[in-house]
């Protein structure tokens, strides 16, 4: 099955790197959507279904934490797996994010293997649910 993936990050470079790394990792992609902040992502999801989201924490307009909180109140959107990709390594912050419903956390810098492992894990657990 090929996935519709949404990458949410205010850096065009980081969005391009995640897209490239997904390709190298061999993750099957149907559509790859991009948004530069949480609000833009919500607007995009109002028109397009996505299966998996990669999001940064620190973004202008709506950051990654607000984005996850908003998604959890939006019915079906709350079921979409969100993987946070960030430089932050605070265990406290990661615990907060997991409690808010984030599916996984990847710390930069990351490798294609790390990305693939997380995609397989979160999509598998989503299918089990």
């Amino acid at each position: 099955m090929a996935y519709n993936v949404l990458v949410v990050d205010d850096s065009v470079t980081v969005r391009a790197v995640i897209a490239k790394t997904l390709e190298i990792a061999g993750v099957p992609i149907n559509e790859l959507y991009q948004a530069s902040n949480g609000q833009e992502a919500l607007d995009l999801m109002a028109e397009n279904w996505v299966d998996l989201i990669f999001a940064d924490i620190n973004m202008p307009v709506m950051n990654g934490i607000e984005f996850v909180e908003r998604m959890s109140t939006e019915g079906l959107l709350g079921t979409i797996p969100v993987v946070i990709v960030s430089t932050e390594g605070s265990a406290t912050r990661i615990e907060q994010l997991l409690r808010k419903g984030v599916s996984a956390y990847i710390r930069k810098p990351f490798t294609p293997e790390m990305l693939r492992e997380v995609v397989d894990r979160v999509m598998e657990s989503g299918n089990e649910g």
Binding site: D10, S11, V12, T13, V14, A16, V17, K20, N58, P60, S86, T87, E88, G89, S90, A91, T92, R93, R107, K108, P109, T111
Partner: protein
């Protein structure tokens, strides 16, 4: 950033991050050992607050930015993409380095908020002043000189 243990951790993290992100190999050097470059440089800086406040600055030769972007994006160094993303790639290198240094020096419990990086041009005079700062660390990255300064506010 003066104590030897912290300095070694920063050296290790910066070299690891630039290798994993940009496939470039760095080694700590003294100011006298830096490869020649210039006269145009970029300096990127970000501050953080939370458990502690401080900042990280990285300065590189202007020509190196496109090389970093090309390697990060997996495109040709002469491509338009590498040129257009060069500043953004340098900021991302700073961002990733800062996050990893904070965890290494402060541990995994404290939460920090990182401010967006800013970028400015630096001339040779500015480069030499930055190099002369006692807390600035120097690296040879694939024959490019790189300067880095990490500081916690006391």
């Amino acid at each position: 950033m003066k104590d030897e243990e912290s300095r070694e951790k920063i050296d290790e993290i910066f070299c690891d991050v630039i290798e994993k992100m940009a496939f470039m190999f760095g080694e700590p050097v003294t100011g006298d050992e830096l490869p020649p470059s210039g006269p145009h440089f970029y300096s990127t800086e970000m501050s953080f607050h939370g458990a502690r406040e401080g900042s990280l600055i990285i300065a590189v030769p202007a020509a190196m930015c496109a090389e970093i972007a090309a390697n990060v994006l997996g495109v040709d160094i002469d491509s338009e993409l590498a040129e257009s993303r060069s500043c953004d790639a340098l900021k991302e290198l700073l961002n990733v380095t800062c996050g990893n240094i904070l965890t290494a020096l402060a541990g995994e419990e404290p939460v920090f908020d990182l401010h967006p990086p800013t970028l400015s041009e630096m001339d040779e005079d500015g480069w030499n002043k930055f190099l002369a700062d006692g807390d600035t660390l120097a690296y040879n990255v694939d024959e490019n000189p790189v300067l880095l300064k990490f500081s916690f506010k006391s």
